[in-house]
Symmetry: C2
């Protein structure tokens, strides 16, 4: 962690000098996996190499000598979407990031939901298929993240290839190199196994979104991250299974939108907005 902070300090110092020095910076807003807005710590992030509790905000503050505010990266992205993106003007929406992992930020009554301890919005770890696929980072089975992440998509492809004899161009790729990008490319070329992987991923995601809708009844769900590049390959089954799993009062109401902010811009804009709140 210290190496990371030293390198970050070096890189950022150049930028800070360019804009007129540290006196012109109100503070640093950080969006990080398992970042806790109340404590300023990154706590037990299953997808980071840093284990346990990392007091990142304090460490950055000591180094940069300006205030630092930290939150979950998906929470930061949600704020970014609300201020500059697809969720402008909305008071109730859920942001889901479909990347290496699955993150989420929940806005209700126009406010981010932090929960009593700052850890609300870990929707990627909710169980969608009891006794389903093992998540190696958490030890839990059947979580949304174990299916609807880049890793999950690759795993779904590997499972079909290993458990069936179905022909697929993906068989030419060594298992260790099979990733979501390869599955996407095969699917766009009409590979049936690859298409089924996205249909299945969308099914699990849609089932999960249905539960989230019945929790906070959002106006929209904003999807963000690498998997959204698959477009209707994943969005169509997601919409179908969302609608199939919500009760009548929620049907045909919730928009599923894809973020149009540039990759990672939402989180950066949202993190910077954290400082304005101070």
């Amino acid at each position: 962690v210290h190496t990371f902070i030293d390198e970050l300090h070096q890189e950022l110092s150049v930028l800070i000098e360019k804009v007129g020095g540290v006196g012109r910076i109100k503070g640093i807003g950080v969006g990080a996996p398992n970042g806790n807005v109340y404590t300023g710590n990154i706590e037990y992030a299953p997808n980071l190499p840093w284990k346990g509790i990392i007091p990142l905000a304090r460490m950055l503050q000591d180094k940069f000598k300006i205030p630092v505010r930290l939150t979950n990266d998906a929470n930061a992205a949600a704020v970014g979407e609300m201020m500059y993106g697809a969720a402008q003007g909305m008071k109730d929406f859920i942001m889901i990031t479909l990347g290496t992992g699955v993150g989420s930020g929940i806005v209700a009554n126009g406010q981010l939901i932090y929960g009593h301890d700052g850890f609300a919005g870990e929707l990627g770890h909710t169980t969608i298929i009891p006794d389903g696929r093992l998540h190696p980072g958490t030890g839990k089975k059947g979580s949304l993240e174990s299916y609807a992440s880049a890793t999950g998509v690759a795993q779904s492809a590997i499972e079909i290839l290993e458990n069936t004899d179905r022909p697929s161009s993906l068989r030419a790729i060594p298992t260790g190199e099979l990733n979501s990008k390869a599955v996407f490319e095969a699917a766009t070329k009409g590979d049936e196994v690859a298409k089924e992987v996205f249909a299945f991923t969308g099914k699990v995601l849609g089932m999960a979104l249905a539960n989230f809708v019945m929790f906070s009844s959002p106006e929209a769900i904003i999807l963000f991250g690498g998997l959204t590049k698959a477009g209707d390959l994943i969005l169509k089954p997601t919409r179908e299974h969302l609608e199939a799993n919500v009760i009548e009062i929620f049907q045909n109401k919730v928009k599923i939108l894809v973020s149009h902010l540039k990759e990672s811009d939402a989180a950066i804009l949202g993190a910077s907005a954290l400082m304005w709140e101070l």
Copy 2:
């Protein structure tokens, strides 16, 4: 519905006169299944005999000539718990009513979560076991309500009795008369099948609560309603399966509390509090 309102008017008029007439009443707060705070309607309540959209607030207002505010019965109960009950001083908690059905009210940042359309908090209808038990009211499969309600408990008992040869005192009861109270009484007398029914119900409820915790990270979950009378028969497995299904950052943090308000008092107190907001 009109008959109901006429009868209600007759009954309440006596009480209203007793306290000094309608001039001394600021308004009527109503907590009702699928009640919508924004529209004042009861909309598509699966567990009520009234189908479709019932403009109950307007109908009551026309009849009583005073303002009427309506919300979901579980939302009303959550407000009641926050003001007078187990959730006093809490800003983040979830209220779950385990009765004929399963209702819920969610408070985050000290506010009820209504969602964009007023229907947030239908946690009883979230899918916990995909392709699980059919809910006859909604047509959905595997919802929390189809297991963790009084009806669900009776159904779980019937399934074990029909699918196994295990001895049980419950076999003396005709299937049509088997209810959650009978299962509870058998369990307290040591009936193994009845005890297993509560263990299973607690397992499904715990799995569901784990997902809810990872959504809004509440300080406590307040349980309310008939099934809580089963005490540790249901609470112990609920706690166990909640802890087993949340990721590390949520473990051993969330209190599971049983409401100590008298049956239905929470909802009535909470509904009355709706008027103070006006």
